[in-house]
């Protein structure tokens, strides 16, 4: 089997750019997804039954179909309904919305895990609903939602690879182009594997670090 490391080294600037795009979309997209997901969860928890049902349906559709198909339909079908987005914004928005569906579920289970009494205690001392969400629910469930959130971040990282289909020049697109141009597929895939593995490992380590830091916020009952 041919394995020529120079194929990769020669293209290092392009690969670095691709990796940059991947990391950018991943980080910005994940943060946006978490924030959006949080508001969806808040809407479902506090917004009444109708909003809960409506958002629940949207979340089910987003979670039930592959991201590839969603992004394809929105990007290439969008212009027919007057929604014409450029690749990068489309990719960012797509990742954020797709991820938000998952994050909303994580936050929802987080909300449910906070004992109802802690919320009532807040109501009793006169905190408004929003103050309760911000000062009690959010910090209290941090410890609980952290592990699944990081898991989700890793899943989203891998989903960014799908964005090549709408011509976003992220790492998978860059490397498979190099593979195709020079027919150096093995080299390209090895580089791809290494990059994602390292990034996932770093995320995992970081997560464990944060987890230990937050470990003192233990639930004393429940």
């Amino acid at each position: 089997m041919t394995f020529d490391i120079n194929v990769i080294l020669d293209q290092l600037p392009a690969i670095t750019r691709g990796a940059g795009v991947t990391i950018l979309i991943w980080i910005v997209g994940t943060i946006a997804a978490a924030i959006l997901g949080f508001f969806v969860a808040v809407g479902r928890r506090f917004g009444g039954m109708l909003l809960d049902k409506a958002l629940g349906f949207v979340v089910a559709v987003l979670r039930g179909t592959p991201f590839l198909i969603q992004i394809f339909l929105v990007y290439y079908g969008g212009p027919f309904i007057g929604l014409s987005l450029d690749p990068l914004p489309a990719g960012l928005i797509g990742i954020s919305i797709y991820g938000a569906a998952y994050y909303s579920e994580i936050f929802r289970s987080g909300f449910m895990a906070v004992p109802k009494g802690h919320i009532e205690a807040g109501e009793c001392v006169g905190l408004t609903q929003w103050q309760i969400i911000r000062r009690i629910l959010l910090p209290e469930m941090t410890m609980l939602v952290l592990p699944p959130s990081l898991n989700m971040a890793v899943l989203l990282m891998k989903e960014t690879a799908v964005l090549s289909i709408i011509t976003v020049g992220e790492l998978t697109a860059t490397l498979s182009a190099i593979g195709a141009q020079q027919y150096a597929f093995v080299e390209a895939l090895s580089a791809l594997a290494l990059f994602y593995w390292v990034l996932v490992e770093i995320t995992g380590r970081l997560g464990r670090l944060v987890e230990t830091k937050y470990a003192r916020f233990r639930f004393h009952n429940a």
């Binding site: 089997m1 290439y76 212009p79 027919f80 014409s84 289909i165 011509t167 020079q182 027919y183």
Partner: protein
């Protein structure tokens, strides 16, 4: 070991390909069809072996070829200098010179030069991209070239109106235009330097006898007019192709 001997002994030639490359290789109403299927059927006759197809996405084809999952790759691929460094190509089976696909009824493009100043889509990392860029450099105003992971997406974006045209090899876009009459149209003539499609195999000594045999079979098929007949069937036209490409234009 000598792969030709192995193939003969097994009685089957395994061919890897991608099935989203009409009209060479595609799924027509559930059936695997295209020029490749017919052409390899002839090659099979010449070598007196059966053909076994292995369909993979393009990204998976070459790792599998190297792993010995099959003996040769159909595809086909445009014969280029870079690719010839790593793999061996058969004699050309069709012309790969590019032309423009536009939206039906678009009067602003009537000849290749009209793409100046417009946005044109093309497959990423393809030789068609290189051909388009070379042609565009000679035009008076800049062409905005947009690269797609596969041509399917560029056609989708042409339909969506994000781009004014797609540059691809004539056989491919001729087929697209025929399939979606009223949506797409081909702008003739093709332009740029001539290039050709060939099948791909491994360069090593083990595969040399097999590749030689396939080359010989193809040349025979071409010589007795079967190739032209098949080209007519799938492209509606025939191509003048050299017997071998020693020094590709790209």
């Amino acid at each position: 070991a000598d792969t030709l001997a192995a193939v003969k002994e097994a009685g089957t030639l395994k061919v890897g390909t991608e099935t989203a490359f009409a009209p060479f290789d595609f799924i027509d109403a559930g059936e695997h069809a295209g020029l490749n299927v017919d052409l390899f059927a002839e090659i099979g006759k010449e070598l007196s072996v059966k053909i076994e197809w292995v369909a993979l996405p393009w990204d998976g084809v070459f790792p599998a070829l190297e792993a010995g999952k099959f003996d040769v790759v159909a595809g086909p691929a445009t014969i280029t200098k870079k690719r010839m460094e790593r793999y061996r190509f058969t004699p050309p089976i069709a012309e790969a010179t590019i032309a423009i696909l536009k939206k039906a009824g678009d009067t602003t493009i009537s000849k290749p030069d009209d793409i100046a100043g417009k946005t044109i889509g093309v497959g990423k990392a393809t030789s068609q991209l290189d051909q388009l860029k070379e042609f565009a450099a000679m035009l008076p105003s800049k062409v905005d070239v947009r690269e797609y992971p596969a041509f399917t997406e560029s056609y989708a974006d042409l339909a969506a109106g994000r781009i004014a045209g797609v540059a691809n090899s004539l056989p491919n876009i001729a087929f697209v235009a025929k399939q979606r009459e009223g949506t797409f149209e081909v702008v003739l003539p093709p332009f740029g330097k001539k290039s050709y499609f060939g099948f791909i195999g491994l360069k090593d000594a083990d595969h040399a006898p097999l590749m030689d045999a396939i080359d010989a079979a193809l040349l025979k098929i071409k010589a007795d007019g079967r190739m032209a007949e098949l080209q007519k069937k799938w492209f509606g036209a025939t191509f003048e192709t050299p017997d071998a490409v020693k020094d590709p234009a790209f």
